[in-house]
Subunit: 199 residues, 2 copies
DNA sequence: AGACAAAGTCGAACGCAGTCGAGTTTCTCA
DNA sequence: TGAGAAACTCGACTGCGTTCGACTTTGTCT
């Protein structure tokens, strides 16, 4: 009779995630209490902690799945005649639109991913895929002659990723309020890297 | 008798910061409770909240006070062949060292400042001071001829600030583990902006 | 089947950030 | 100078995340 227990556990686990996600998107992460989640899932408060180590853990588990999905959407290769600048803008705008789809979720996810309580291998793995993706973009551009030959492509990924972070912080900090503005900022900042600011 | 009250307030304020900093460095940010701080400062718990809006606000204020001094120094000397690049690195390294002097606290503060629950005018003001400071640095550099004339200096502040964020994320994400490496990254990324990456 | 262990459950309790509102001190102005 | 207003103080309270430990269910071995 292997698995009666296991099956139940899996169900409860799913129920917790489901209730949590519903409540998070309805009331926000901070406003949703563990007790709310437990009640909605039909279990006791303490039981939640046999499935998840902390509140944020529930959230991150859910996000792992979502991120996986988001990544597969992104895989389409770009055709020729496109510049690296435009490719980068497209790439990061997709990321931006995905993560800000739900303001509350995006905020929480960014907090967890960028400033985690302890280093999470899963997040690292995820980041790595994005960096690899960017690397390929840069490599192709270098072949096309759009980039100087001596560029460290990994460093370049970090550079653009940082700019993307700055833009996200601007969004969440209330400095930018429309998606159009976001795209403008992206274009301006990215162009700055290409051109250089010295004289 | 103008100021008996004011004077007392200023003293209490200082006492809170002093006690808080002592306790933070002895026990760590999270392990220090507001009650501990209040007791050490010889006041009631609730009184702390008439001086500071939250626990993190205490440390933020402390940082600002301390950094103020360091940064005015940075702005003054210019005759010797100091370059904008080095000024920027010094500026951000001071910030970095300060905010990461307590790992846990820095993490929490960054989360709160970059992806706040709700837009906080106090934080915006805080940011503004640093942007203004950078602006001055850029302006002086432009006068010296280190920057192209058509640069939008505000945009430049955003650019370097973003790079700084990326570096912080690298630190908290476990991608970089020594301060030396941090400085190298900073130098490399910043240089990239000056030179430009195109060809 | 029965009995012992292991795993799972959950209400109660803890520690802490932040708020409330009643009491106290300082200021102001007639 | 004194009385009413304004500012300040703080113990008690609320709400929440997380842990504890007593209780219940499931699995296993003879």
């Amino acid at each position: 009779m292997a698995g009666l227990r296991e099956q139940k556990k899996a169900e409860t686990r799913k129920a917790i995630i489901k209730s949590a996600v519903q409540l998070f998107s309805k009331k926000g992460f901070e406003k949703t209490s563990i007790e709310d989640i437990a009640k909605a899932a039909g279990i006791g408060k303490a039981t939640v902690y046999t499935y998840f180590s902390a509140k944020s853990d529930i959230f991150m588990t859910y996000c792992d799945d979502e991120l996986e999905e988001a990544f597969t959407d992104l895989k389409k290769p770009k055709d020729d005649g496109v510049t690296l600048l435009n490719q980068l803008i497209e790439f990061f705008m997709i990321k931006f639109n995905f993560i800000t789809q739900n303001h509350e979720f995006g905020r929480q996810l960014l907090r967890e991913m960028l400033f985690p309580k302890q280093v999470d291998e899963k997040v690292k793995e995820h980041d790595q895929r994005y960096f690899d993706f960017l690397y390929e973009l840069f490599f192709a551009a270098q072949e096309r002659g759009e980039l100087a030959d001596d560029q460290d492509l990994y460093q370049l990924s970090v550079h653009f990723f940082s700019l993307y972070l700055g833009i996200l912080a601007g969004w969440y900090g209330g400095y930018v309020d429309s998606v159009e503005e976001i795209e403008n900022w992206m274009r301006d900042l990215f162009s700055q890297v290409f051109k250089g600011i010295g004289r």
